[in-house]
């Protein structure tokens, strides 16, 4: 098969059985791969009311048809499961090298089910797949685990994906990390993996990925690479300063959420900017597999906080920076490093600490075990991360995420989350399309399912008035469908700054040997988005969940260039549902489902 390998691994941890299954071509063509194919499998195999941390929940790790090819950024994998943090659909993806290595081993993905009695790890060496005891690495951090398992496999090219102590401990914001510094960060997939007693997946692949039309595929790659090179974001800015290039841009626009979203202007932004990073702690620019952008930042801090490794990237800088009132870049790098070692989502961690800091300052959170959780207290922030990673002391409360934390102190409104997933680094009061994107993302408070910052702030592919609501529902819908496809292909969303549906459709068509017109490409994306929504509806999501935290909806931005503004999300919802072909409760109508081939 071209593009796809057409083969999945199914690992039942309860019985220890390992099976290789072929996927029907029609399923691949309709659901593409990555989180698309993952959605189809999850929908067909898992009950919507499954307890996320029970053996009945499944954890899918999927690549796409372009993973392992020369398609720009074709190296990603997606983790699919029911989130223990939000109780709804979760897809979360990562770059690095691991996804491509799995493809070269011969698999489009892995379906992990059941629960092992004892801690185990999965070792994949091309066709040889074995479950091995993980007692030597259970309880160990990512750094230790990766080193031990790489040594055990005796192949320097093997790639390690693992959870840290946080995932083992059931921290609801625990993530999956590959090659030390790349994470499928959001929604607690690490806790699901931990609940299955699966510590790691080591993979080495010496096979190949073929494409159906080599000459045309190469031409599409060359064209796409040229467009990315000429684009100011993918060709210049992200290479020069990494994603932290956004710190100054977003702060200047007055939407850099500060101190638990109490304002959008952070006085210390300059100190934690991409420019500051480049001038101080940056050691090396790094790229994921097959990526011509290289937004990765390998940093080294020698002074107060000794730390060396990948990151921090923009969202992490914000989470441990402005959100916690901290303007100390080395301390932020340390917090990011601790999250990578313990295996915790940086966005949810920093956001939750910011929430706890507000609760502490307002006297609502008293029992912190002596931790002085004032905004700006870097030592307390770092201690909070450590305790969460170990699930000890106040960390036990932080491990549950901001929604449960805010509820437990009697002030649910303090949680800056949507559907239980902590919001990222853009205040929706000054980017109204992004607000709608947050409200309607299938996995909750997340920016990447519809990155409206691109048109609303960066002017790509066109400049939209960020404070207007006209036309935003249609744009959000288009971006959501489009991102469903990027995450199905196995590429990075950052390519979207430069490439359009034409380029992706051409790459896909020439890889798999079946023509996708742009319309068919976007329709496939719409199918995937609706399939995920159907699962969410079955899991209890309705109109009342498609909203933002009340603070943001009702308190106008207090200062800066967007002072006085509100997100106006509720004014856009009906139009959005209409465009989606959903009923006023946010449920996909039969007519739409039938049109997309989703009606049984």
């Amino acid at each position: 098969m071209d593009g796809w390998t057409g083969r999945l691994l199914r690992v039942d941890l309860s019985t220890g059985s390992i099976a290789k299954e072929d996927v029907p071509k029609k399923i691949l063509e309709d659901y593409i791969g990555g989180s698309g194919l993952g959605a189809k499998i999850f929908h067909d195999e898992v009950s919507p009311d499954v307890d996320p941390l029970s053996p009945e929940n499944k954890l899918l790790i999927m690549t796409g048809p372009l993973t392992g090819t020369l398609a720009p950024t074709g190296g990603r994998y997606m983790v699919i499961t029911k989130s223990p943090l939000t109780g709804i659909w979760l897809e979360t993806n990562s770059g690095g090298q691991w996804g491509a290595e799995l493809k070269f081993a011969g698999y489009d993905g892995i379906i992990i089910e059941g629960r092992s009695e004892k801690p185990v790890y999965l070792e994949i060496f091309d066709g040889e797949v074995t479950l091995k005891g993980a007692s030597s690495v259970w309880g160990k951090t990512l750094g230790e685990t990766t080193a031990v398992l790489k040594e055990a496999v005796k192949d320097d090219d093997a790639k390690v994906l693992a959870i840290g102590p946080a995932g083992e401990e059931g921290v609801l914001t625990a993530c999956v990390v590959n090659e030390l510094g790349r994470a499928a960060g959001r929604g607690g997939s690490g806790a699901v993996m931990g609940s299955k007693n699966l510590k790691a997946i080591v993979v080495r692949g010496t096979g190949s990925v073929t494409v159906a039309h080599p000459k045309e595929f190469k031409e599409s790659v060359v064209k796409s690479l040229a467009m990315m090179r000429e684009n100011p974001v993918t060709g210049t800015a992200l290479y020069a300063y990494g994603t932290p290039v956004l710190v100054n841009i977003i702060n200047t626009n007055g939407i850099f959420p500060t101190r638990n979203f109490s304002t959008g202007v952070f006085e210390g932004a300059e100190n934690i900017s991409g420019e500051q990073m480049a001038a101080t702690i940056l050691k090396k620019k790094t790229a994921c597999f097959a990526c011509p952008i290289a937004c990765g930042r390998y940093c080294s801090v020698k002074a107060e906080f000794e730390v060396e490794g990948e990151g921090p990237e923009y969202e992490s800088i914000w989470a441990f920076g402005a959100q916690c009132g901290v303007d100390n870049l080395p301390a932020i790098a340390k917090a990011n490093y601790l999250c990578n070692e313990y295996g915790i989502d940086t966005i949810s961690m920093g956001n939750t600490i910011g929430c706890a800091m507000e609760a502490y300052e307002r006297g609502l959170l008293k029992d912190t075990g002596g931790l002085v959780l004032n905004f700006g207290n870097t030592e307390a922030m770092l201690e909070a991360v450590e305790l969460t990673g170990k699930n000890e002391g106040i960390g036990k409360m932080l491990a549950l995420g901001s929604k449960r934390l805010a509820e437990s102190v009697g002030e649910p409104g303090l949680s800056m989350s949507v559907k239980g997933l902590e919001l990222p680094a853009y205040d929706p009061r000054g980017v109204k399309g992004q607000g709608l994107g947050y409200a309607t993302s299938n996995r909750g408070g997340c920016h990447v399912q519809a990155y409206m910052i691109s048109p609303e702030i960066l002017g790509l592919p066109e400049q939209l008035d960020r404070l207007a609501i006209e036309g935003k529902p249609a744009f959000v819908k288009m971006l959501q469908d489009f991102v469903c496809m990027v995450n199905a292909l196995g590429m990075c969303e950052f390519t979207g700054f430069a490439l359009g549906a034409d380029e992706y459709a051409a790459l896909l068509s020439h890889a798999v040997g079946r023509e996708y017109t742009v319309d068919q490409f976007m329709e496939a994306g719409e199918r995937l988005f609706n399939l995920k929504r159907m699962m969410n509806v079955a899991m209890g999501v309705s109109r009342e969940d498609d909203t933002l935290p009340e603070r943001l909806l009702t308190t106008p931005m207090p200062e800066g260039p967007v002072a006085g503004h509100l997100p106006e999300t509720e004014k856009m919802i009906d139009e959005y549902y209409q465009l989606r072909g959903w009923n006023p409760d946010g449920v996909p109508a039969d007519e739409k489902l039938s049109e997309l081939g989703l009606l049984k």
């Binding site: 392992g68 090819t69 020369l70 090298q97 491509a100 070269f104 090219d157 692949g205 010496t206 096979g207 190949s208 990925v209 073929t210 494409v211 080599p214 190469k218 690479l225 090179r229 050691k283 090396k284 620019k285 790094t286 790229a287 994921c288 597999f289 097959a290 990526c291 011509p292 290289a294 990765g296 390998y298 080294s300 060396e308």
Partner: protein, 154 residues
């Protein structure tokens, strides 16, 4: 004029597009295991592309007992028909360039793509260059060696 590849670890980001381009050029498929250029990620932020440096007096050719390795117009050439897969060339090469192709089961090595190396074409960062093997290129090598010794010498 004799040309060689020139590698700059300072520019290499570890994206491995050179490996994909190489296997695609030679085998029509994407497979780092079949690539004749490899990016070594050594940790500590060091990524280093390595491939044949086209020695004037190739050690691989000297140890090859089956006559599979020759040199023509300054390019070291491997003959899969004659190769027995004994791996002596891999041991002898100072940079470990030759490798056993996992499909052919015979030693393969960089052939400079008849003067238009695919790895050079697809490296987005200019970390692999195709340069004349003259004095100016040697100066570049010396510069790289100094930077490497600064990192590895610690």
């Amino acid at each position: 004029m004799k040309h060689t590849l020139l590698f700059d670890h300072g520019k290499c980001t570890g994206c491995r597009m050179c490996e994909l381009a190489c296997s695609f050029e030679h085998n029509g498929e994407f497979s780092p295991a079949r690539s004749r250029i490899s990016v070594l990620s050594l940790g500590g932020g060091v990524d280093m592309p390595i491939s044949c440096l086209q020695c004037e007096d190739p050690a691989c050719m000297g140890v090859c007992s089956s006559g599979a390795i020759s040199q023509k117009d300054g390019v070291v050439s491997f003959d899969a028909e004659l190769c027995t897969g004994c791996r002596l060339c891999m041991m002898a090469c100072p940079v470990g360039s030759p490798s056993i192709d996992p499909v052919l089961k015979r030693a393969v090595n960089c052939d400079l793509c008849e003067g238009e190396p695919a790895c050079v074409e697809f490296c987005p960062f200019g970390a692999v260059e195709y340069v004349p093997a003259t004095h100016s290129a040697l100066v570049n090598k010396k510069r790289i060696a100094e930077r490497l010794s600064a990192i590895w010498g610690e």
